[in-house]
């Protein structure tokens, strides 16, 4: 497996009032293509900062971030927007769908900012909606959907641009155990289809679904382990 993303000696400092906060103090990780990584750590460990940097929502104070062999750490705002819309998929804890848009329009948003929306991409949106089990609710709006359904729309949206990496930030944080399991099954399915997934979580039983668990503490990597146990696959095939 080759590295789809590499961070090298990544540092991030914030000015918070008069205080300088060192959120990341030199982190280097290789993320392999097709891997399923969980980032863990207590609050203040720097895991959210790392995810924001990986998601190109922010730039590091120093160090490098190579996404598909392209150094994105020195790009300007517009270039980063471009990278986000083309190469990254996002899944958030609060689903973050646009309330005025229908299911199909929400899935379409990343393409909108690439300026390529047409009948073909529309058909692709419909296929993805069907894949996440919302084929009958294409014209529904987020408030008409349950939390689990909204998160499935978000998953479909994260796939529409065929991204290098899917970044999930506490994707199951707002969901009950049963629904969380459904969502994780879906993510695992995507991973088995070859998608690289990096997720932030603070729940051990969610992290167990990942193949690799990286723990952060105080801006350093505390541990980086491959899960020995094979991820639970009791709902295997649900996504196909």
């Amino acid at each position: 497996m080759s590295a789809i993303a590499r961070v090298v000696n990544l540092q991030k400092t914030y000015q918070m009032g008069s205080e300088l906060v060192h959120a990341l103090r030199g982190v280097s990780i290789d993320f392999e293509e097709g891997d399923f990584v969980a980032l863990m750590g207590p609050s203040g460990s720097g895991k959210s900062t790392l995810l924001n940097l990986l998601g190109c929502l922010d730039r590091p104070s120093s160090g490098h971030y190579y996404l598909a062999n392209q150094d994105v750490s020195r790009m300007d705002d517009d270039q980063l927007s471009d990278v986000r819309s083309k190469y990254l998929g996002f899944i958030f804890q609060a689903y973050n769908l646009i309330a005025q848009y229908t299911v199909i329009e929400n899935i379409e948003v990343p393409l909108l900012y690439q300026g390529k929306v047409n009948a073909q991409t529309r058909a692709r949106c419909v296929r993805l909606a069907e894949m996440v089990g919302l084929g009958k609710r294409l014209d529904h709006r987020p408030p008409q959907l349950s939390g689990g359904q909204q998160q499935r729309v978000a998953i479909a949206r994260s796939l529409i641009n065929d991204p290098h990496i899917i970044l999930a930030d506490e994707a199951t944080g707002n969901l009950d155990t049963k629904t969380s399991e459904e969502i994780m099954t879906m993510l695992l399915g995507l991973n088995e289809m070859g998608k690289t997934i990096i997720m932030v979580t603070h729940e051990n039983d969610i992290a167990e679904w990942a193949r690799r668990v990286i723990r952060l503490r105080d801006g350093h990597i505390e541990s980086d382990v491959r899960n020995k146990s094979i991820p639970p696959r009791h709902v295997k095939g649900a996504v196909a």
Partner: protein, 471 residues
Amino acid sequence: MLNDSIDYLISFLLDYWPYLLGVGLFVVPAILALTPIGGPKLRRSFVTAVRNLWLHKLRSFLSVLGIIIGTASVIALMAFGEGSMQDALDDIMRQGATNIIVVSVKPADGATSNRSFVAKYGLTYQDYERFRTTIPNLVSAPLPVRSFDAVVRPVTESKVLRSRVVATTPHYATIYKLGDMIAAGRFIVEADESPVPRNICVLGSEVARTLYPGEDPINKVIRFEGKNPAFTIVGVLKDRSPSTSGPDIEKYDTDIYIPLVSSRALLGDTTFLRSSGQRGAEQVQLSQIIMTVETMEQVRPTAEIAGMQLDLFHDAAKKDWNVKVPLDKLEDAERTRDRYRRQMAMIAGISLLVGGIGIMNIMLATVTERTREIGIRRALGAKRSDVTFQFLVEALVQTTLGGLIGVGFGFLIIWLAPPIGHYFSNHLPTKVHQPSVFMAFFAAVVVGVLFGWYPSRRAARLDPIEALRHE
């Protein structure tokens, strides 16, 4: 018919091409933007804008209310101004913009040097002759008019009517454009003047109605009280619209027209005044002389020559004449209109400023409210310019709709005002001032861009991470 419409179209295009160009520049891209040419981004921004407006119907309405009121009031007020201006202009044109009117003026009491029972003043037949022979550039002979009040009595009836007698020449019909204003019979003709002055008269419509209700007045005979000669009616005029410019309204329908030569020969130049208990008499040979010159440029110099002549032959102390130039009134009217327009432009500016502040206020609130949405869009790949663009489109859609509704309201007011004014017995003429319609609309649109700009920039400058965290 076809030629007429083509001519009209061409003149319209020539008059309003800048506005049409402006409309084209705005409307054509707007329409193209909604077709596949405009691209999905613009189309989606537009649809989103409309949806958001619809989602907050009341709020959107209130935020553009300023724009609506501003646009409507500019259009309506301009139409009121234009309407009354048009009234004044029509009136001046009726009086003739190339006319010079010399009138007799009764000198102030005490100014008359002779203390006789008969007050002698005003224009004379000599003045008339001098004008006729010496004033250059006249289209035709000057028109002499002697008018005086008299009590009229039909010979066969006991009714009486106080009316104004206008003694003049056949030329009066030309100057006052009476061509198709004759209801029955004829106007004064040259044969009435020479070789022998005839004692005939032409009645104004009101006089005919009052003295001979339901009868044909032609060939009936009237007398003026205190005078012996009888006048045979040879014609009746139609209703004429009164002249409303200036402080005094001149009504023509109570006039009786007789040949000037007949008046002079049969009635004399002296009028006895019996109003308000006073007894007195005036001797005025002519009350006014109207001269028509060929072009408007000749009006003032000619008026000056006439004034110089009168100065020469009339007693400077009593100044019993005055030269009136309708063209002056035209220019007065135009000056008034220009001043009115400037004031309107100021009011328009202020109301649109207020409207713009309303838009900006709501836009800023909207940006705060939709911070999270902005964060989502940024995370999914929207550039800053995309966010600016989206909010700008929303502001534009608001102000454009507001402008359109305002134009609609403006026309509604223009349409309703005259009948409502009529109901309250006011004259409220309106005339759509087309440039103001376009200008008010475009100003509304421009306000959208100007006042939408800052909130849109502010939305675009939000940090995506902060925005995503926003509750």
